[in-house]
Point group: C2
Chain length 188, copies 2
DNA sequence: CTTGAAGACTTCAACGCTAAAGTTCGAGGC
DNA sequence: GCCTCGAACTTTAGCGTTGAAGTCTTCAAG
């Protein structure tokens, strides 16, 4: 359940090996710390591969990544799984215009309903259908299985260390880039 | 120099805190390992924030992420910084059609040249200009500064451990998802 | 020399997204 | 009650991408 936006493309890019790539960078750019570069490149590459994997699993379920994001956001909102297009757009980092179209599609597929608010007719309410919720559940099961498999080689200690370091990095990037989507208070 | 594809969107998504999000998942989905989830979510979130940061820095330089990817690929190819559109497309994971248009734009901006191969007139050669190379250098400096800053709180030991664990995960995901863009032999 | 087939790139239609303009409804001043 | 402002969503135009069809060149065989 990485909540990553992503692109899987026509097919995955064909990249040089990490070591080859770092060697090439050092050749073209003298002052490069190989250790830093290794961490950053591995991080990016791992994420990309994971996103390709998520995309495939979702495709098997017959839903796109865009749809998965919406389902997830509605479920995370909790019962009764309702949000307005504007709120959805804000949480997904999309424009309201894009949400309009996404909701159109998903309503057509029966994953959500879209109705005018009775009390305020300028508002629209998007609500998860039972089918939408069960698609989410299936996707969730696939995702957690995959994640379990991904981390299978790591001991519990290693998982703990990894998580702790990543959260420190997350805090750092949110200090450095205050408007990059994070809420500083979360981690303090 | 993360070589991530990315989306920065109209603005970054507004997300709940990691802990809030994991708590919500546990509420809606009973059998979830919080430790696994924490690692996976932190990984995804960190990457997204980093990509937003890269995107901003590149925008300051007046180049888009798409352009950055092309510059990087040409530099990594080494002297004389030449590749055909098809090869570029393969390395970037794009369709040849998309490459055609990207190259059009970049040639218009003077970042690359685009010529027919003298010896085989069906082939096209894209070559980095001096301006393109210097843009790449500037971007590279910004990226490495940012990466150095990102990792500033980690000791050298921690960086080593992090890198090592990430590479193990990368190997695992490439075993599990053989066609996700990696080359298995790289890591063995 | 002509023809057929394969390869490399480009063109075209459709799609999803952004930014900006437009529409509709609700709320507050007068 | 009317008017204007603002909020929430939709529509429109433009861009970059994909997938499929099209064009042009090369190579090899007849």
């Amino acid at each position: 359940m990485s909540d990553n936006p992503e692109r899987s493309g026509p097919q995955a890019p064909q990249e040089p090996s990490l070591d080859e790539q770092i060697a090439a960078y050092q050749r073209e750019f003298r002052d490069l710390d190989p250790q830093v570069e290794k961490v950053v490149s591995a991080l990016g590459r791992l994420n990309r591969r994971m996103n390709v994997a998520y995309g495939r699993q979702l495709a098997d379920l017959g839903i796109s990544n865009a749809e998965w994001e919406v389902l997830k956001t509605l479920v995370l909102a909790g019962e009764p799984y309702r949000l307005g297009p504007g709120e959805l757009a804000k949480r997904l980092g999309l424009t309201p215009a894009a949400m309009t179209h996404r909701i159109d599609r998903m309503a057509g597929e029966g994953l959500v309903t879209r109705d005018r608010d009775e009390n305020n007719r300028v508002r629209v309410i998007v609500e998860l259908t039972d089918e939408g919720r069960s698609k989410w559940l299936e996707a969730m099961r696939m995702a957690t299985d995959f994640e379990e498999e991904l981390l299978q080689d790591l001991t519990s200690d290693e998982r703990g260390v990894l998580g702790e370091i990543l959260i420190r990095l997350l805090r750092r990037v949110e200090l450095t880039q205050p408007d990059a989507g994070g809420r500083l208070t979360d981690l303090d």
